[in-house]
Symmetry: C2
């Protein structure tokens, strides 16, 4: 055992260095100045940045009306300059060429996507996160921030699963437990959840090293299965398509079942699909429920889907990226009945947690579930360590958990409840206004705070009211609403997005306007002004393009 290892002495092993004895030369003044903390330069830049942000924020509307294509044409040489630009010159160019033409996602008239005004502390904390520049992937580069991140995840776990104080105490800081994983957003959260589901389904067993080790093809062969699938409603977020592609299941491995007339998963149809998959020798890895569909804000019947997942022996994942924070609202929480039965839940920070872009989370009911994806490295995240990088898609990352931890404390459940309730009330204000205006048609009664509607040209209103719209009429409606939405965005006054709904009864597919009412600064006046603008824009579109020209000709 005490065998000699022929370890050569250093001098002989390495030889002499192939470079002269080095000297640590001081940096040039320019570079040294850049790396000085809290200098006058830094204060000056801070003030300039604040002036720019204040000016952009004070503007009405959602941004400039310079067309995107014009901006793209103006762009630079795409070459890193040899010599540094003076900071003032750079900032001035950045402001005039770029920031002036950013989108004011915080504007009360920006009602189109899940980006909204932020609480003021988010801006201060962003500076703090960068000033600290921690890397919570390992405790050596984060220490107390690792603990804070685990605490923030435990708080989310409690909000979603409501386990006992003893459960929280036992798992919040235990390195063997994973109550959740911070991700860069909802997409990687969904990916993490399905990765865990796949690896847990194909865990090591006698004669098989597990999918993690041997790969998916070997897993299917070992289990005698033809394929593995994830089942969700047709309103599933496109991140699930990414996830099944990434995980080697192929997009055919995402089995989408038509939603019902209000955009909710249909458990009977899903059960038939699940049974059909199993009859064909295909494994159902996961059933995914959606708490807040991206297109309509609808919420799946989670309790029934939990039953289905149990029936299929599958992982039950809930994509609550949008709707998860409804747990904070006593009024609307009942929509989430069954959520606690989920094996994993995706939450997205920049949506209804009112955090800045760049943070999401996946929360696991079972604190040991994420062991299925554990990885180690020799220099960090060693086995048994509290290093957070052991169980995550991502590696090094910022301490964005500070934003989450702070917002949970500075808003509290009552603050979030107020925001959720107000957003849903605003959606109803918009739905009511849409019903009240003959120019518009409400397509789905909003469940939460997303509203789907469309503009109907005067000449089509009688047929729309009588239910006698033709397929050609449908194409005209699509074309008008597409133009309307694109032009409204380009003008920079107010904004809703658009999507194509295909789950509506009696409409195969329709382009619809999609309003997201999450910004606490949005008032009834903003909503009315946005609809007024749409009516005016539509009138002008129809003036320039009389309806007949929008009817497709018989031969294309």
């Amino acid at each position: 055992m005490q065998a000699h290892l022929p370890l050569l002495p250093p001098a002989e092993r390495l030889g002499e260095p192939d470079y002269p004895v080095p000297e640590a030369s001081p940096h040039t003044p320019a570079v040294a100045r850049l790396f000085t903390f809290g200098s006058a330069d830094e204060r000056r830049l801070d003030e300039a940045v604040d002036r720019i942000a204040a000016r952009l924020h004070a503007r009405d509307g959602i941004g400039s009306d310079v067309p995107y294509a014009d901006l793209a044409r103006r762009q630079g040489a795409s070459v890193v300059p040899a010599h540094p630009l003076p900071t003032e010159d750079y900032l001035r160019a950045l402001d005039q060429q770029v920031l002036e033409h950013a989108v004011d996602t915080a504007s009360p008239s920006f009602m189109g996507h899940m980006t909204t005004a932020l609480p003021y502390f988010a801006r201060s904390l962003a500076r703090l996160v960068t000033a600290l520049n921690q890397n919570p992937v390992k405790i050596e580069t984060s220490k107390a921030l690792t603990i804070l991140e685990r605490e923030a995840l435990a708080m989310l776990h409690h909000a979603l699963y409501a386990r006992s104080p003893a459960h929280q105490r036992a798992h919040a800081q235990d390195p063997r437990s994973t109550l959740g994983v911070i991700t860069s957003g909802g997409t990687t959260a969904n990916l993490t959840a399905l990765w865990v589901a796949r690896n847990a389904a194909y865990a090591p067993s006698p004669g098989f090293g597990g999918v993690e080790r041997e790969g998916l093809a070997a897993a299917l062969v070992h289990h005698g299965e033809r394929r593995a699938v994830v089942v969700a409603s047709s309103l599933a977020h496109y991140s699930l398509a990414k996830a099944v592609d990434l995980l080697g299941l192929g997009e055919q491995g995402l089995s989408l079942v038509p939603a019902d007339a209000r955009g909710r998963a249909d458990p009977q149809a899903m059960r038939r699909t699940i049974d059909e998959h199993r009859r064909r020798g295909e494994r159902v890895l996961a059933v995914v429920g959606i708490a807040g569909t991206t297109e309509s804000g609808s919420v799946d019947p989670l309790d029934a889907l939990a039953d289905l997942a149990a029936h299929a022996g599958a992982h039950f994942h809930v994509d609550a990226a949008w709707g998860g924070p409804l747990v904070f609202s006593p009024r609307h929480r009942p929509l989430l009945e069954g959520l606690r039965r989920a094996d994993s839940i995706t939450i997205d920070g920049h949506k209804q947690l009112y955090l800045p872009m760049g943070i999401g989370a996946v929360i696991f009911r079972d604190p040991r579930r994420a062991a299925a994806i554990e990885k180690h490295a020799r220099y960090i995240i060693r086995a048994g360590s509290p290093d957070l990088g052991r169980r995550s898609v991502e590696g090094s990352r910022a301490a964005m958990a500070i934003h989450l931890h702070a917002a949970l404390h500075l808003l509290g459940t009552t603050g979030y409840a107020e925001l959720i309730d107000a957003g849903i009330a605003r959606a109803r204000v918009l739905a009511h206004a849409v019903r009240a205006r003959p120019a518009f048609e409400l397509l789905v009664e909003p469940t939460t705070n997303i509203v789907n509607y469309r503009y109907v040209p005067p000449s089509l209103r009688p047929r729309a009211a009588a239910g006698t719209l033709t397929a050609a009429d449908g194409r005209v409606l699509d074309a008008v609403n597409e133009r309307l939405q694109a032009q409204q965005w380009a003008r920079g006054r107010s904004f809703v997005s658009r999507t194509t709904l295909s789950y509506l009864p009696h409409i195969r597919s329709a382009v619809v306007l999609r309003a997201v009412l999450a910004n606490p600064l949005t008032t009834t006046a903003h909503i009315d002004a946005m609809l007024d603008e749409q009516e005016a824009l539509a009138a002008s579109i129809l003036r320039d393009l009389p309806l007949p020209s929008l009817y497709p000709t018989a031969t294309p």
Copy 2:
């Protein structure tokens, strides 16, 4: 074609709403205050945050000496409070309980990981990124920031591939082209590259819908292959193990070939491995070269690996997360000979681009290569749009590209060259000091700015010098260096990391200290003080734990 669609009139279709006519109620003063832009509250918090950051920065050393376990025990109730905490109270608690015990990754004495002091503009811009809160996944939530992101990627593309100005003009802003993808870090950049490689290798062909659609098992069956593998040296970053697991290849699908005595890939051995895989009916999807290994900073012979990839008909990916910015240094650029032959290159922002945590990129030589992973959604990132979310692992994300765009302009190639050259010079200062001190053994001559060495107790120095260390001696060396490194971190004065090297000739495996010399604030005095502390710590460890106690007994 003009068939009637039985579209029912809205009132009948939706019925009356199941809620009373809503009112948009104003927010409570507490919530309204939180969402006010640029208030006195915000200014006060900004100032408090700046005071904290300045105080933490002014401390000597790398952080507090309170043990991690003590901090973990002090943590909270893991429950979201019902009522918001006053901001001042929250910040005070955060400061005392968390921030005071963060790690000062910007300290000149923090020489252990790839996190360093940042240029001052990073802190100002972090506030700007959050104040704008753009989402570059789609132009509707970013507009000019989409263009900026594409420009920043084009600048990196030019730095790495040096294509003509006409090439840059043609592709920088063309939505069909993808010069690169911004990711949250190097891990997702590597994942993106291998995802592209896998999907391009198993593209749709007659009788096969492609791996993207049909999945990996079907792809292998269609091509009559037993398995698909990625070949790299044994010093590959652990993100490659994550990637092959995620992609369904299994960790056995990562074929690691022993590196040479200086930590570089061995092309002859790799060629034998590749040929063996192909002989066994296994597809080599990608050959991965490493430009800057995480453990030793060594650089693979990229030109030879490019030949190998061509020989294997495989995608050639270079993980240049650490070493990519060497392209900016005329002195050290020759190490990257062959880099331009890579199909894809990973760059990590927080490493030698001196950006804050949270941004990486993968750059593609062929601007059409990323089409292999394109995804769409009905409500955004529609086919043909300039939306950046079409070709990426991640979905919604922050406009971190501002940091990249700014740093490339504010440092320039000369600024980066100075930083790279100074880092490598510092590594040589440390290597020289290690050679000069009998207490230490230099294990690898540093190629770039990472130094591997270890402490050798006095009683073992003669055997170490004579090359007669036993296996038991090796275990003692491992134990002493492990303790030394852990204690140095815990004391909070200075810091290097540690790893286990297994590619050294004549040493099966050795725990070594790993210093990363990237911080421009680090001087020779900091390096000497760090080594002095290690010698003192080692002496105290040996006092408390005399060597015999570290020798493993015959029976464990």
